[in-house]
Amino acid sequence: MNQAAASALDAERNHECILEFAGVQLVADPAGCLYWPQERLLVFSDLHLEKGSSQAVRGRMIPPYDTGATLKMVRDCINRWQPSSVISLGDSFHDGGGEGRLPDEFRQLLTDCMTGRDWVWISGNHDPMPPAALGGVAADVLALGPLTFRHEPLPQSGCGEISGHLHPQARIVRRGKSVRRRCFATDGSRLIMPAFGAYTGGLNIRDKAFSGLFDLSRLHAHVMGRERIYTIDSKQLV
């Protein structure tokens, strides 16, 4: 048995998914965040806070609970991993006005999550400017050891890039049934994170938006199941 398979088995026993990525070990959490134990760093991508209210402004009164739902999941993940720092990998707010529309209750929830740890806002296309009054530090790109964190994957980036933006989803068809879920997509040198927000949709990683980003022979989808991650070979994806 090769080493990758052995660690995959280990992880499976613990219902954890450990990714060997650019020489470091990362844990893909079934909730959709990524933990780097060595640095005690937790990463969320594409929270799209206040997406609900961005629609309400235009007359679509979709339920205003998305921010609350997203932030409670963020809080749960933070409680689970107890990170010393957190990266929010861009598109943290759905639009420039999102921070202003944040109801007080949720502003408090977010502030509680940020208290006692470093917090980095990576800029995204939906939120090129960092939140004005929430604290934390802002950056377009962040390099940490062998890893580079940015919102939008760069086609020519080197090994170790972790990004979001594309909201990857994997789809399989078995026995005439189609299953579609969010996933972490990686070929070992690039990793694209699933969108974390409660109202964020997804894009099939077979879509042309992903073309040229991955070495298809090494691409795996780490698919978010109800309680665990399922690692699925790209050959099985449709």
Binding site: E12, Q55, P63, P64, P103, Y199, T200, G225, Y230
Partner: protein, 843 residues
């Protein structure tokens, strides 16, 4: 139009009240108006609203229009310089095509009589310039659809446009009123009555089970719950149809829906007649039947295919050929059900069970439009249970029984749409609008509190978390009226009005095999298939569509690309649409027939034998009993129940039973449901558990399963998500899909599934969830029917423990494997896919 017909009593006086051009016209044609036509005329002239129930071919259309035509013929012409008058008569039809058809049929007599009456249609196809002109210079008679009416009354000039309205005619009323479309239309009618309180309505309907429901629907209901009804005229049915069940030389199969066994006999019937209409219940059956017939069409008879998924141009071609009597046969689904004239059809063949006695009667009405001659029909059951069902339907047709579904209470999502539409037309007062809404029959019982919740929903979404007040779409102003806060919301409304929410469909384009990327964009459009079905295909899979076997090449943007395949045995597309559950009435008939061996003589011999063996080996239940059989097979134990309550109710029952069995540690593994029966299997011997009293049958089937168990399951069910999408779209919470724009919106819009999950966990009492549950309970889950069944069988459950499968159980056992339990199934598939990777890595 009418032929001379002795009516037995003097109509001379009424006849003479007709304006002269009409008397002359009837005289020239050698016709006489029929009694019901004159009676309707007289009563509408006297100010009554009327329901006319008549079979096809009774001159219903002329009857409906006669009051308007005579009124218009006598009214003084508009002098030059006088203001244009508003619409005099509004005609609402369920189908665009029907409106167009009626216009043609009406224009001929109007032209022949030289009447100065303008008749125009207004449908989704009417060009913008014509719509604008219609607003300025309205026609006297406007023919339109429910959706267009909703748009007309949501316009700022609605009150003026309808200020001269005298008559509203509802064609095919029996089919309009049973859906949410009917709810919206009822609200629209209430609005029209506010504009014109003296308005008269005329409903034209086929025979229905409860005429009084339609009579209520047509008129304003009293503010204190008083029931008002329109007048009614019922025209007795024409000649009895000649219906037979195909007595096949071949073996009738145990299960399946294709009726492939009977193909050569069906083909012979087509050859022996001039024009045959072949009805099936689903689009996939239509595709299959068409394919099978052409395989044996040695005479190259012109046989065509017609169903709602085919491209419009192809459908029109078939319709024209049909009207010109150029076809020998058409294979069709319900798209042809409604009253369009189809040339001289002399035979109707119904493949598969008709599912309802009224449905059968209406479909057979397609054949032979002259009501004095008998229609001719052959029923072709696809399996043995369907033989029973066909016989029951046939008996019912001879008895004249009707089993049209009862009308449902008006749904709240439709009300939300209507409230928004009302606001688009102008400010409204909540109390007055509530009074107006409750004057319509479907909403007569709507409380003021629920109405106010709907207003709140329209304004800000009506959430417990009140964070959207500042973005309200309508707002209560100082004068006590609700007003739209921005005109762009009216625009948004117009794009989303209506209650017809299509399942997401993709165009199917024909391309060359293995055409790659950019090359594969061209190719003609064959029609549309539901995205859900296409998602389950992988490259190279074959399926039957538009009469061709196609190979799936892939999906790009909003189209599915497919090439011609030569496969003999394609995977067949099964569409979600077009599956009707067995009607309660027919189900009862089938149960009765099972319990009365003397009636089996009417059945084909092999079916009678099948029942006789069942009787010898197991039990045939009495009419009100529920038979439960248990037996082992392979390494599993089976329990088969025969409630005959339709697939939907059985599926719901199956879900609830497996939950209970799990709790009782009986370890169920899965279940499968058909229209007639339900089979559950598992690892424990259910039969032994029953006989040792470890498991109580009466507790298992107790009505209390419809309480908490149902609630718990409902909330998890994917069926509820689907229902929520419909409700949320109709209520205006999420945008309707507009062809060609779906993809671009993906980043911006939020999927209804995600909204549902969030809403359910944070605002479980929200009014839209309430509406969704009510809808699902009545529709997809058939909970009421299940409840009726559970109370009927109380104390009447008969258990038969068997050593092996019984004859009656064979059909459902053959269905196993075609379906599986939802819920954890998705996780299981993911785990399987993941395991494969693991296996590979260990090689």
């Amino acid at each position: 139009m009418s032929k001379p017909r002795p009516d037995g009593f003097a109509q001379a006086d009424l006849f003479l009240t007709l304006p002269k051009p009409f008397i002359d016209w009837f005289g020239e044609k050698g016709w006489q108006p029929r009694a019901h036509q004159l009676e309707l005329l007289g009563r509408v002239q006297g100010g009554e609203s009327m329901l006319l129930i008549a079979p096809t071919g009774a001159g219903k259309t002329l009857a409906g229009f006669l009051p308007s035509l005579t009124d218009l013929a006598m009214r003084a012409r508009r002098k030059p310089g006088e203001a244009h008058r508003g619409v005099h008569t509004l005609y609402i039809s369920p189908l665009k095509a029907l409106a167009v058809d009626i216009k043609r049929n009406l224009e001929t007599p109007v032209a022949e009589m030289g009447l100065p009456i303008s008749i125009e249609t207004r449908t989704g196809d009417t060009p913008q310039h014509k719509r604008q002109r219609q607003k300025l210079i309205p026609p006297e008679i406007l023919l339109t659809t429910p959706e267009q009416l909703a748009l007309l009354i949501a316009a700022g000039d609605a009150a003026r446009f309808f200020e001269d309205l005298e008559v509203v005619i509802f064609d095919e009323l029996h089919s309009l009123v049973t859906s949410k479309r009917g709810h919206l239309l009822a609200l629209g009618l209430a609005r029209l009555r506010t504009f014109r309180p003296e308005l008269k309505t005329i409903g034209l309907s086929a025979t229905v089970a409860e005429p009084d429901e339609l009579r209520r629907w047509l008129v304003s209901q009293g503010p204190m719950g008083e029931i008002h009804m329109s007048g009614v005229i019922e025209v007795a049915g024409g000649a009895k149809p000649e219906i037979t069940i195909l007595k096949s030389r071949e073996r009738v199969p145990w299960s399946g829906h294709s009726a492939r066994y009977a193909m050569s006999e069906v083909y012979e019937a087509i050859r022996a007649h001039q024009t045959t209409l072949l009805f099936v219940n689903t689009r996939s059956q239509a595709e299959l039947l068409f394919q099978e017939l052409w395989k044996i069409n040695d005479d190259s008879l012109p046989i065509a295919l017609h169903h709602g998924s085919l491209d419009v141009s192809q459908r029109r071609k078939v319709e024209q050929a049909m009207a010109a009597n150029a076809l020998r046969a058409v294979v069709a689904t319900s798209t042809l059900d409604l009253g369009i004239d189809w040339g001289d059809v002399d035979l109707v063949v119904h493949i598969g069970a008709p599912k309802g006695a009224s449905r059968l009667a209406q479909r057979i009405g397609r054949s032979n439009h002259r009501m004095d001659e008998p229609s001719k029909a052959i029923l072709v059951p696809a399996n043995r249970f369907e033989v029973l069902e066909c016989q029951a339907a046939l008996d019912a047709n001879y008895l004249g029984a009707q089993d049209t579904p009862p009308l449902r209470e008006g749904s709240l999502d439709v009300l939300a749409q209507h409230v928004m539409g009302t606001a688009c037309a102008g400010p409204f007062n909540a109390a007055a609008l509530h009074a107006e809404v409750t004057s319509s029959a479907p909403y007569a019982a709507l409380s003021r509190a629920d109405f106010d919740r709907i207003i709140d929903f329209v304004a800000t979404g009506g959430y417990a978390l009140r964070s959207y007040e500042q973005y309200a779409r309508i707002r209560l102003t100082a004068d006590g009226s609700w007003r739209l806060t921005h005109p762009r919301f009216a625009q948004q409304y117009r794009l989303n009005a209506g209650t017809i929410i299509e399942a997401p469909m993709l165009d199917v384009r024909l391309t060359r095999s293995r055409a790659k990327g950019a090359n594969a964009r061209g190719g003609p459009v064959l029609g549309k298939i539901e995205e859900g079905f296409l998602e389950s295909l992988v490259h190279g899979d074959t399926f039957l569509f538009a009469g061709k076997t196609l190979r799936y090449e892939g999906i790009r943007e909003n189209a599915c690309f497919a090439s011609t395949a030569n496969d003999r045995d394609p995977a067949i597309p099964y569409y979600a649409g077009g599956k009707f559950p067995l009607s309660t009435y027919l189900a009862e008939q089938v149960r009765t027939m099972l319990s009365e061996p003397e009636r089996w003589k009417a059945l084909p011999e092999q079916v009678g034998e099948w029942l006789a063996i069942q009787k010898a080996k197991s039990i045939l239940p009495k009419r009100d009993e529920l038979l439960i059989e248990t037996f082992p097979r392979g390494e599993r134990y089976y329990m088969v129940a025969y409630p005959f309550e339709g697939r939907l109710a059985h599926q719901t029952l199956g879900m609830l039973l497996t939950k209970r069995l799990e709790r009782a540690k009986a370890r169920p593994l899965g279940f499968v449901a058909t229209d007639y029966a339900l089979a559950v299997w598992g690892l424990m011997d259910f039969g032994r558990m029953f006989s040792r009293n470890e498991l109580s049958l009466s507790a298992l089937f107790d009505e209390d399963m419809l309480g908490d168990d149902l609630e718990a399951w409902l909330d998890e069910s994917f069926l509820l998500k689907r229902t929520f999408r419909y409700c949320a779209t109709i209520a205006g919470l999420i945008e309707k899909r507009h062809p060609g724009k779906e993809k671009s919106g993906r980043q911006m819009t939020v999927s209804s599934d995600l909204i549902y999950d969030v809403l359910r966990s944070h605002d479980p009492g929200h009014i839209l969830l309430e509406a969704t549950r009510a809808d699902a309970a009545q529709g997809l889950l058939d909970v009421h029917r299940l409840g009726d069944m559970l109370s009927r069988i109380k104390g009447r459950i008969v258990h038969k423990g068997l050593e092996q499968i019984s004859p009656l159980a064979v059909p459902i056992m053959l269905e196993i494997g075609k379906e599986s339990v939802a819920g954890d199934a998705q996780e299981a598939l993911l785990a399987e896919a993941a395991d494969e990777l693991l296996k590979e890595s260990m090689l």
